[in-house]
Symmetry: C2
Subunit: 124 residues, 2 copies
DNA sequence: GTTTTTAATTGAAATGATTACAAAGATAAT
DNA sequence: ATTATCTTTGTAATCATTTCAATTAAAAAC
């Protein structure tokens, strides 16, 4: 939990009890969780936690670049504390997201010469 | 429209006025449209069309393998009549999906030796 | 070609994830 | 200690999607 505190500071995120708890969970459970999974995991030991806070917290984390949001699961947004450039695939059988760490930038032949500029590439 | 009729049959989809109209739109507007975009485009010339029909139709098309559904846009499901293996990227500026045709199967180093079997790989 | 059966379409209501908002609580500054 | 600012919380609103039952259209049987 101390670690999470420090970790948040690295991304200029002011720590709070809730934020540290959420980050602690993310760092120790790399399961690309949904909002609900995060909420369900924390609420037993944090009965006052609100799901809205989880939404707010994750929005902040994404905005500050501490986590990335995946759109790979049509049903729910999923989050990844691993912000390195890597891919994902979604197993429809077990409904889980798995990492693909072998992707290389050259794999994407983007039309960068066109009228838009690339902000980010997600292989999710 | 005649073409769409024939096209649907190739995927064992029984054509109807609505289905042909939707497929005709998809074949001639390769913009990876949302349900709403399809509905909005067709309803002027098809006032009785229901949005539920568009949902039903797209579900059927996906099930029959005539189109693929993309999860790349967090807000809405998007559909692509191009069922060939290719990638996509989503421009947050213009909120449009673009194709990436240079992806190759080898780009994905999947852990096929594990306990799940891969049904499909989407780079979207 | 009319009747019967089956399938497709439709609109309204239900669901479920996410967002908006305003009040309550906690933290930081004075 | 007091005031101001930021965070958390619960409720209500929103929006995409699904469910469902009724209507309409199409296909099959006669």
């Amino acid at each position: 939990m101390l670690e999470s505190h420090q970790y948040l500071r690295q991304f200029s995120i002011k720590p709070s009890v809730q934020r540290s708890a959420v980050m602690h969970f993310l760092l120790n459970n790399r399961i690309h969780p949904t909002i609900d999974e995060i909420f369900m995991a924390l609420s037993p030991t944090m009965p006052t936690l609100s799901k809205t806070t989880v939404y707010n917290t994750m929005d902040l984390f994404v905005e500050k670049g501490a986590v990335q949001v995946l759109a790979i699961d049509e049903k729910n947004a999923r989050y990844d504390v691993d912000i390195s450039a890597h891919g994902h695939f979604f197993c429809k059988g077990c409904a889980k997201v798995y990492d693909i760490f072998d992707l290389k930038p050259e794999m994407f032949q983007l039309p960068v010469n066109e009228k838009f500029k690339i902000h980010a590439v997600e292989s999710s």
